[in-house]
Symmetry: C2
Subunit: 345 residues, 2 copies
């Protein structure tokens, strides 16, 4: 029935277009649904000054991960971390997770134990409780679906939509390394498939590999905001790449974004791997995904509060040009940043 | 790495054994986690008299559904309903859901629209808001993961563990029809595969087919409890079959369960299909899954409050024989009910 005439291919819409399309006729009727689809997490009123935050993600083998180079323990850890990152991106604190898995008979009990040891490690480090879930056999592959639940004072919650012209744009940590790590792993897998006798050349690549295989969520940045009395005007976590996330903030805030190439935080340990693999560091920093750093905007008056935090970098400012996302290059040219890839104009 | 020596097959543990095994070393550290794994939903304190309930389920193609006979709209509807059923089973009210799907390129946009039209219909009928989710391509098949969020007064929440000897055992609606409907669909698919020219013989089977393809969650029963001032002592929804659920209540409550075959609610529209397909009605009622009726226990003093509700049936009572789950047959013999299948002793 679903392979009949009148067939429209899904990739004609894009991922975000698809969600918007499928959910366009849904309306919210519960008065405690403060925010539904369209931010990093849903916000549910509890009748107190604290709201509940809920975020969910599904990871599919062969799409989101490749077990040829992703150890199961790391996969379990990463699956939790990327969900917690969505709660931090609302300026909230995650407290619980549910984990559902579907697995083919290719997986032994020992394999699932490995996966859950990574899940447990992440739960311990981030102080979240595993409160539910489901395990099921599957016809093929491994699927992991996680829901993270957190809380935040309503007055602290940071949405994607609050940025205004003049606000400063900041990112935590450094950008692009997780993408470089992934390209390495893909290359080494290809070499191995073609010639299993060759040993992988991963020395000196520890940093980029760790960024890809064992990312961390920026709990520390949220704690810093809290102790420094900073509430960002907008925030999102960087899962799909800086450019893509800037577009989300610009679109939902109704403003523009202008960043400077020479302000992009790029770790020195990323340069050699970049050269080795033939990638351009700026391109990795703007379009590489999976860094799980926080991208946020602050009022200029708050600059003094965070300028001494060496792990936060001001990369630009918000403009009044609705939806315009641009970068000023090192040689002072202005480029539009596209959600996928960037090119000179 | 996961196909090496030291391999233990997972089905040696069983589904519940697997969850227990994988999560045995997890400990809860958040003080607002009132109940974690092990009931129909997790219970999270919000600091008010109402707690939040969270339940999650993953449905995988070829395991939980077969698109050869399950229309996508029905599948979307059922996926929501079975998750809401878990919230009702805590004596709570569902308010929000998140929906994540993974789909191969076999699915067109029109197919996903069908799926979401069923999801939307269920959301409208049960007054729940779709507040989040994820869509992703997959290498194969269709996967649906749903998290339901609800609320309940803490003093109303009904766990699996509260039954005591002397309590009455009750079920809503009728049992076994969803299983009979499934057997029909499997039979007709087999006939069709062997001879595509044969038309399916589904006349007179409307009731059992609807129970399988479009189940409902018992919102009305929870509303009846509320208006009648009844709080069951324990409760669970019947997804895996009456026998299996009785074992859960008995084990977690630390008591026994004794039911009477002649009290089992079996719809008259189930008998002919049962005979036609060669199934025994009592076996279907005790071991057939997916009815999504509520199984619960009440104090004897509450009997007067529900005896006039024709959709609630007292089927037995709790005993002090820990873990013992038995049925007295129509000819007055006592049989142990096993979680899977039952046999005379």
């Amino acid at each position: 029935m679903f392979e009949n005439a009148g067939r429209t291919e899904i990739n004609s819409l894009g991922e975000f277009g698809l969600i918007d399309h499928l959910t366009q006729h849904f309306t919210n009727t519960q008065i405690n649904t403060l925010t539904g689809i369209g931010d990093d997490a849903a916000v549910i009123d509890t009748g107190t000054e604290e709201a509940m935050l809920v975020s969910t993600d599904m990871l599919l083998e062969g799409i989101h991960f490749d077990l040829a180079y992703m150890p199961l323990k790391h996969l379990g850890y990463k699956a939790i971390v990327i969900n917690l990152s969505d709660i931090y991106a609302m300026n909230g604190t995650p407290q619980q997770v549910t984990v559902s898995i579907g697995f083919s008979n290719r997986f032994s009990l020992e394999a699932l134990e490995e996966l859950y040891s990574g899940i447990r490690l992440a739960c311990e480090i981030y102080h979240v409780d595993l409160v539910g879930g489901d395990t099921s056999s599957a016809q093929a592959g491994l699927t992991i679906s996680i829901t993270a639940i957190g809380k935040a004072k309503k007055s602290d919650i940071t949405y994607r939509k609050g940025a205004e012209a003049g606000d400063l744009i900041a990112v935590s940590g450094d950008l692009g390394a997780a993408f470089v790590g992934l390209q390495y792993l893909i290359r080494e897998k290809k070499i191995y498939m073609e010639n299993p006798g060759v040993q992988p050349e991963l020395e000196g690549k520890d940093y980029v590999l760790e960024r890809q295989l064992k990312p961390e969520a920026r709990k520390d940045i949220i704690e810093f905001f809290n102790s420094s009395n900073i509430i960002p005007t907008s925030m999102i976590d960087i899962s799909d790449g800086l450019s893509s996330e800037l577009h989300h903030l610009a679109k939902q805030s109704g403003c523009g974004m202008l960043i400077h190439e020479d302000k992009l935080p790029i770790d020195p340990m990323m340069y050699n791997p970049c050269i080795d693999i033939g990638l351009e560091a700026t391109m990795c920093a703007t379009n590489g995904g999976e860094d799980y750093e926080l991208l946020f905007t602050i009022k200029q008056v708050d600059y003094e509060k965070l300028k001494l935090n060496s792990d936060i970098h001001i990369i630009g400012y918000c403009t009044d040009q609705y939806g315009s996302v641009k970068m000023i290059s090192k040689n002072n040219n202005e480029y539009p940043l596209e959600a996928q890839g960037w090119k000179a104009v």
